[in-house]
Amino acid sequence: MTTRGTPSERAPRPGKGWGHWAQVLGAHAVLLGYTAFALFPILLVVVNSFKERRAIFRTPYALPDADTFSLVGYRTVFTGARFDLYFVNSLIVTLGSLALVLLFASMAAHALAEYRFRGNTLLGLYLAIGIMIPIRLGTVSILRMMVALGLTDTLWSLILVYTAQGIPLAVFILSVFMRQVPGELKDAARIDGASEYRIYALIMPLVRPALGTVAVFTMIPIWNDLWFPLVLASGERTKTIILGAQVFLGQYVNDWNAVLASLTLAMVPIIVLYVIFSRQLIRGLTQGAVK
C-alpha cells in the first residue's frame, strides 16, 4: 500500500455518502446483468420448447399462450428416440459408479488417515496423480481392454472407468476430513473390543458432509460425460441421456420443436439435482475441498 493517492476522508464507509450508494447500486447492476446473461439462453430454450413452430420464430421472447402452446416437439422426441431408456441407463451408470467411488474411496481414505505404515505418503501421492492427469488420455488402451474383456457396449465398461476416474479426488478430500476425526474416539472403540471394520462403520456418519460433497463432485461429470459413452457404449441399448440427446440433436437438427424439447428434457434432471444439492456443492467448493 505505497500508493495512497486519496485523502482518508474519501474512504467509503458503510452508510455514508453518495459514492457508497453508487457503488452498492453498481455492484447489484453488474450481478443482475450477468445473472440475466447466464440464465437467458437456458430460459429461452425451455420456454420455446412448449410452443408451436411458427411462434418459436415470430415471438421467441413471449411465454406460450393458448394459441401458441404445443407439445409437438415432445411427441417427436418420444417417438424418435428412447429417452426413457437413455435416462435409466444414465441413472444406472451414475449411481453405480457413485456407490463404488464412495465405498472404495472411503475405505482407502480411512486406511490412509488411520494407519501409519511404510509408503503411506507415497500411496497417497500415487492415488493423487489422477486428480491432475485426465483419464481420457488413456482411451486407446481402455478401449482395447474393454474389447478384450468383452465389455464394449455394456454399462459395466462405463461404471468401471468412471469409478477409476472418481477415486483420486474422492480419496484426497475424504482423507483430509478423516484425519480430523479425533483419535481418542477410535481408541475408545478399540478398548471396547470393536473390530477394525466396526471402527470404519463408526466413522462414516461422522464424515457425512464430506461424503455429500464428494458425491456431488463425482456425480455431475459422470452424468454429463459424452466422451466415454461415445467411445465405449454407443449402441442403442446402452446410450446415456447425453449421448442419446447428442445423436438425436444431430438427426433432427432442422426440427426446431424436437431440438428444443430434447434439450429441455436432457437439462431437467441435472437442474433438479442441482437445486437439491447446490448448497452442498457450493459449500464443498468454497471450503477446504480444493485448497
Binding site: M1, P7, S8, R10, A11, P12, H20, V24, A27, H28, V30, Y34, T35, A38, L39, P41, I42, V45, P60, L100, F104, M107, A108, A111, F117, I129, M132, I133, P134, L137, G138, T139, V140, S141, I142, M145, L160, T163, A164, I167, P168, V171, E196, Y200, N224, L226, W227, I242, Q246, L249, L260, L263, M267, I271, L273, Y274, S278, I282, L285, T286
Partner: protein, 296 residues
C-alpha cells in the same frame, strides 16, 4: 488394512494408471505385417511433427488450443474474479441466490450448452440479431460459428459462459477467508475499496490464482465435447476449431472415409500428456516455490 486399500488401488491402477502408461507405450509402436505391433521408437512422434500429412494438423490443433486457453485466461478468469469480488462484498443483498444462479450453467452438460448456443447464434432464429439490435449493432450479426475467422473465438466464449462458475467459486472461497481485521486496518488507514482489493486482497489470494490457472490449463487441453457437438468431428470450418481433443478423437476413432489409427491416436495422446504434464510441473515447481518465497 490391505482390505481397506485394495479395492480403490486396484480399480484405479487397472483402469486409470495402466491405460495411461499403456497408451504411452502404444505411441511407440506401429502395426507391422500380419497386424503384429512392432516397436518403432519415436518414429510416430517424428511423423506427427514432421510428416506433411500429419504436422500441419498437429500444429493447427496446438495453436488453436493455445488460443482457446488464452481466451479463458483473459476473459473467463477476470470475470470470475470480478463476480467473486462482488459476491464477497458485505453490501450486496441476496448473495447466496446470485451465487446459485450464476453457477447453474457450469453444471449443465457441455453437449447441451453447445447446442443451446448454436441455436442462439443461428441466423435462422435471429436471437443474436435482435440482441445486437438493442445496441444498434445489427451489422455485426454474422454466422459466427460458420466463419473461419470467428468460429474458434466464438466457441471459446461459449465455453467461458459455461465454466466461469468454477473460478468464481474458487476466488470467492479465498476472498471470504481473508481475516476482516486486515481489511478494517487498511480502511482505517484511508484505503478505498479499489486499493484494498488490489493492495491487500489480491496478493492474499495469489495461491488461488495459480490453482485456477492450472485447472484452466488442464481442462482446456483436455477439451473435446463442445467442438464435437457444435462442429462435428471434422472441427470445421476447414479445421478452424480443431483442438487436440478433436484431433485425437478423429485420429484414433476414424471419421467418414478415414479409418481409425489407434497407435497414432496414442501418439497424439502422448503429446497431450506431455503438454498437460509440463503445465502441471511448471505450476508445482515454479509458481508454488515463488509463493513460498513471498510468504517468507
Amino acid at each position: 488394512m490391505i482390505v481397506f486399500l485394495a479395492p480403490a488401488t486396484l480399480v484405479y491402477t487397472a483402469f486409470m494408471i495402466y491405460p495411461l502408461l499403456d497408451s504411452l507405450r502404444l505411441g511407440l509402436v506401429a502395426p507391422g505385417p500380419g497386424r503384429v505391433e512392432a516397436f518403432v521408437g519415436f518414429d510416430n512422434y517424428r511423423r506427427l511433427f514432421t510428416d506433411p500429412n500429419w504436422a500441419p494438423f498437429l500444429w493447427n490443433a496446438i495453436r488453436n488450443n493455445f488460443v482457446f486457453f488464452a481466451v479463458h485466461m483473459l476473459v473467463q478468469n477476470p470475470i470470475g474474479l470480478l463476480l467473486a469480488a462482488l459476491l464477497s462484498s458485505q453490501v450486496v443483498r441476496f448473495r447466496a441466490l446470485f451465487r446459485t444462479l450464476l453457477f447453474l450453467p457450469t453444471v449443465l452438460s457441455i453437449v447441451l450448452v453447445g447446442f443451446i448456443w448454436r441455436l442462439i447464434l443461428s441466423p435462422i432464429w435471429g436471437i443474436s440479431k435482435d440482441f445486437l439490435g438493442l445496441f444498434g449493432l445489427e451489422h455485426l450479426n454474422r454466422p459466427w460459428l460458420g466463419l473461419e475467422g470467428s468460429a474458434l473465438i466464438t466457441l471459446s466464449l461459449v465455453s467461458v459462459w459455461q465454466w466461469v462458475g468454477i473460478p468464481m467459486l474458487l476466488f470467492l472461497a479465498a476472498l471470504v477467508s481473508i481475516p476482516d481485521e486486515l481489511i478494517e486496518a487498511a480502511r482505517v488507514d484511508g484505503a478505498n475499496a479499489w486499493q484494498v482489493f488490489w493492495g491487500i486482497k489480491f496478493p492474499l489470494i495469489l495461491p488461488t490464482v495459480g490453482i485456477v490457472g492450472v485447472l484452466t490449463f488442464v481442462g482446456n487441453f483436455n477439451a473435446f465435447d463442445l467442438i464435437y457437438t457444435t462442429q462435428r468431428a471434422l472441427a470445421g470450418p476447414n479445421y478452424a476449431t480443431d483442438i487436440l481433443g478433436t484431433f485425437f478423437f478423429r485420429t484414433f476413432f476414424g471419421v467418414q472415409l478415414q479409418p481409425g489409427n489407434p497407435t497414432m491416436g496414442a501418439t497424439i495422446a502422448g503429446v497431450m500428456f506431455l503438454i498437460i504434464l509440463t503445465g502441471v510441473v511448471l505450476y508445482l515447481f515454479g509458481y508454488q516455490r515463488r509463493l513460498q518465497r513471498i510468504e517468507l
